[in-house]
């Protein structure tokens, strides 16, 4: 560590609590970190960027929870590569070297007359947590749908149950809850409550969010998902939270650019997920393009994959 870095203020963010949500190679860990300024300003949908070591990567992580009075935030991270494995070595009593946030545009949360559907897939259940909480606190009827590959990887069920009007759980392999994907439940909810859903918010792996958008397109929008098609005014708003590769997180590098369809211009526009997002209108997202960009460093084996740990997912 250079003297300059070591002597500067603002580098110690103490870890107050650490909780293992999922054990094993692909562990999912929750950290409660002392960060009063971030806690003071954090809102649902925002994220932080942290480094655990000098020369370390800048890792974007969603703010899973915040407590303004205690001055703490909760971060949930899945171990997927070198950088997240380094993070897993940190215990309560240790400190995070750098913690920048809250970043990103908060998701708009308001009281709806009709029920709101919140969907979380895999470690994407973590970012849905504060959204469910804010929506529920405003008196909304919140239908929470969460799913994981298998029972072992399902997180935050109890926490979400406590703040959801109704909750549905799926596992891909049927080891717990309903067998199948979260979109199966969404399909049923949309059918049973036709015309009764105010909006859908979905966070999870890209294929899951794309599947949600396609499911929605079939119901309230059009027969098929195609961002360039004219909007059906009766569509149900569908918000997704994107997880592109990013470096600075302040709009400076443009690495997190995503293609979002602009109906006024009739073409895709590049948007920076770190400042314009990470939440976007799901119907307008070029998922295939984002998927390609997220695979840019896949061959660099030792790089932490952001699939499961990026901002918003």
């Amino acid at each position: 560590m250079s003297d300059t870095e070591g002597a500067l203020k603002g580098k110690n963010y103490a870890i107050l609590k650490k909780r293992t949500l999922v054990e094993g190679e692909d562990a999912i860990l929750e950290y409660v970190v002392d960060a009063p300024l971030i806690a003071r300003h954090a809102q649902a949908g925002q994220f932080v960027i942290l480094r655990t070591a000098n020369e370390g990567e800048r890792i974007p992580l969603t703010i899973a929870a915040y407590d303004r009075e205690a001055g703490t935030i909760a971060l949930i991270v899945q171990i997927v590569g070198l950088s997240t494995r380094k993070m897993a070595e940190l215990e309560a009593g240790d400190a995070i070297l750098d913690l920048l946030g809250p970043l990103g545009t908060p998701i708009e949360v308001r009281r709806h007359e009709k029920p709101v559907v919140c969907m979380g897939g895999g470690v994407g259940i973590a970012p849905i947590w504060p959204k469910v909480k804010e929506l529920y606190d405003l008196g909304n009827h919140v239908i929470t749908i969460i799913g994981a590959r298998t029972k072992r990887l399902l997180i935050l069920e109890e926490e979400l149950r406590a703040i959801s009007t109704e909750i549905h759980v799926t596992t891909d392999d049927g080891s717990y809850g309903r067998k199948g994907f979260v979109t199966g439940v969404l399909h049923d909810v949309l059918e049973q409550r036709e015309g009764e859903i105010a909006e859908v918010i979905a966070v999870g792996p890209l294929p899951m969010m794309e599947a949600v958008v396609k499911e929605m397109a079939g119901k309230g929008f059009r027969d098929a998902y195609d961002p360039s098609l004219e909007y059906d005014p009766s569509r149900i708003p569908c918000i997704v939270s994107l997880n592109p590769i990013m470096v600075d997180g302040t709009g400076m590098c443009g690495g997190c650019r995503v293609s979002i369809w602009d109906h006024a211009k009739g073409e895709y526009q590049a948007r920076f997920s770190c400042v314009d997002g990470p939440a976007f209108d799901g119907y307008a997202v070029d998922f295939a393009g984002l998927n390609r960009r997220n695979r840019q460093y896949i061959s660099q084996e030792r790089v932490a994959r952001r699939d499961g740990s990026g901002a918003g997912a």
Binding site: E5, G10, D98, T250, G289, R293
Partner: protein, 501 residues
């Protein structure tokens, strides 16, 4: 040869004493400084070429007001420490400015010795003095006014913020710099490569600033981590130096392909995140065998030369005008040429094509010719019809410029921007209308704040923009404005918010 004789010889010397350089063949394989620096002998000789004009033309052309004549006088007397301190009286960052100033268009442009021959190498001498002092642990002697109890918040630790902080702390203010990244220095750290400006040197000169009592709070994005309103409540004045953190793209097909970088991203990965040491440093970067860099400024040169050092076999700079119109410094163009960078003048990309996996494969270009001059005074490039052709690349870096970082203005409605996204300021004082700001903040704070801005966030409203030295000049002007405005005011009692620590 005695000194007197040597002085006479030096006065006859028409050309600048050459800068010792790393051999191009060697330096393309390392990130060490390209320029090795003057020895004391060379610096003395060069200073002896200075004829000590009674009314020196160089001094008014220095944006940070260095008394160049006094500096040269001291060097001629071999009093290097004094010469160093002369610089520091007006500029605390001589190792930085000595390396990245465009002296050829400032002090050296007007040097009398340039009329018949080459100007005195003022920049090279400045750099020598800074390095000489640093190697001996000689710190700037600071004449400090006693603390006056007033506090200034500076947003951004780049050249503009550093310079404003240096002047304000010496005037007795409590200065806190807020920086969003994990390392201070702004573009000096994330943008300018090591071989042009070693990071250790930036660290050292920032340490000098901290030694004077300036506090630097990292990992703090003003607007998000702390709001502008909170700063207005707590500080007597605010300086905004948030820089040019908005990369431009060309809006041509294929820019979303993998392997297409903004220069900001490419250089941030290579410099700040040290991706050139991957995998020892875990942040990766795509090296590319055949790299195209679009643009003709210093940033384009930096990106091209970094690519070469990362191992690219072929690096093309793609520029739509000719060498004469290139905005990059002549020295940087020359260094790039020496290093084997290939220049495609009068070319412009029109589309980027990818392979099946979404990676850059080819760039379609069109040839240009120069027509009549445009608003910038440079001859406008005109398309040569049907001249399209494709050229293979595996990495393409867009170095066509950056805009002001829009985030703070977007989050702070009363910060007015013009059509280029620059903060609107009084071009002489670099101040925003503080009263308007306070009213817009929704309440009347105890004292109406003074808000100034400088560097790339204001662009060229206060004269030549876009360079480190212009930004440092802005910092000085803003410090003066703040000082004048705060003379009559009692200090606020608020305490500066620190980062979460």
């Amino acid at each position: 040869m005695d000194r007197e004789q040597a002085r006479k010889e030096a006065l006859k010397q028409k050309t600048k004493s050459p800068m010792p350089m790393q051999d191009p063949e060697v330096r393309v394989h390392n990130f060490s400084s390209v320029e090795l620096g003057y020895t004391p002998e060379i610096a003395w000789t060069e200073s002896s070429r200075c004829i000590a004009c009674k009314d020196p033309r160089c001094v008014p052309y220095c944006p940070v007001e260095i008394d160049i004549r006094a500096m040269m006088d001291a060097v001629r007397l071999e009093n290097y420490e004094e010469a160093f301190q002369v610089i520091c009286r007006s500029n605390l960052f001589p190792a930085i400015t000595g390396r990245v100033c465009p002296q050829e268009s400032q002090c050296e442009m007007v040097c009398v010795r340039g009329v018949k021959g080459e100007p005195v190498g003022i920049g090279f001498v400045e750099k020598f003095l800074a390095d000489w002092a640093r190697e001996r642990g000689i710190r700037p002697k600071a004449d400090m006014l006693p603390p006056n109890g007033k506090t200034i918040a500076i947003i951004g630790s780049g050249p503009a913020g550093m310079s404003a902080a240096a002047d304000l702390v010496r005037l007795g203010y409590g200065v806190t710099i807020y920086e969003a990244l994990h390392r201070p220095g702004g573009v000096l750290i994330y943008g300018i490569p090591e071989f042009r400006l070693p990071k250790a040197i930036v660290d050292y000169e920032i340490d000098n600033l901290r030694a004077l009592g300036v506090e630097i709070v990292l990992n703090t994005l003003v607007g998000r981590t702390i709001t502008m309103d909170e700063l207005i409540q707590d500080f007597d004045a605010i300086f905004v130096g948030t820089g040019a953190g908005l990369p431009y793209f060309m809006n041509i097909p294929g820019e979303q392909l993998n392997g297409v970088y903004s220069a900001n991203e490419f250089l941030t990965r290579a410099n700040l995140m040290n991706a050139r040491s991957f995998p020892e440093a875990p942040t990766p970067i795509h090296h590319g065998k055949c790299v195209g860099v679009v643009g003709g400024g210093n940033v384009a040169m930096d990106a091209a030369r970094v690519s070469k050092r990362l191992g690219a076999e072929q690096v093309d700079i793609i520029y739509r005008r000719t060498r004469d119109e290139m905005p990059a410094r002549r020295d940087e163009i020359h260094h790039a040429e020496e290093e084997g960078i290939n220049f495609l003048y009068l070319h412009a990309p029109v589309a980027i094509y990818g392979d099946e996996e979404g990676w850059v494969k080819e760039v379609e270009m069109i040839r240009m010719e120069l027509g009549e001059p445009d608003d910038s005074g440079r001859r406008r490039p005109v398309v040569v019809p049907d001249s399209n052709f494709r050229r293979p690349y595996d990495v393409l870096v867009m170095a066509i410029g950056q805009g002001p970082n829009p985030l703070l203005a977007r989050l702070t409605p009363y910060l007015k921007t013009n059509k280029w996204g620059q903060l609107v300021i009084d071009p002489k004082k670099l101040s925003l209308d503080g009263k308007e700001a306070a009213v817009a903040a929704g309440e009347t704070p105890p004292e109406i704040p003074i808000i100034c801005a400088g560097g790339d966030i204001i662009g060229s409203q206060a004269g030549a923009g876009g360079t480190v030295i212009a930004a440092m000049g802005h910092g000085k002007i803003a410090a003066r404005t703040i000082h004048e405005a705060l003379q009559e005011r009692p200090p606020k009692s608020g305490t500066a918010p620190s980062a979460d620590a």
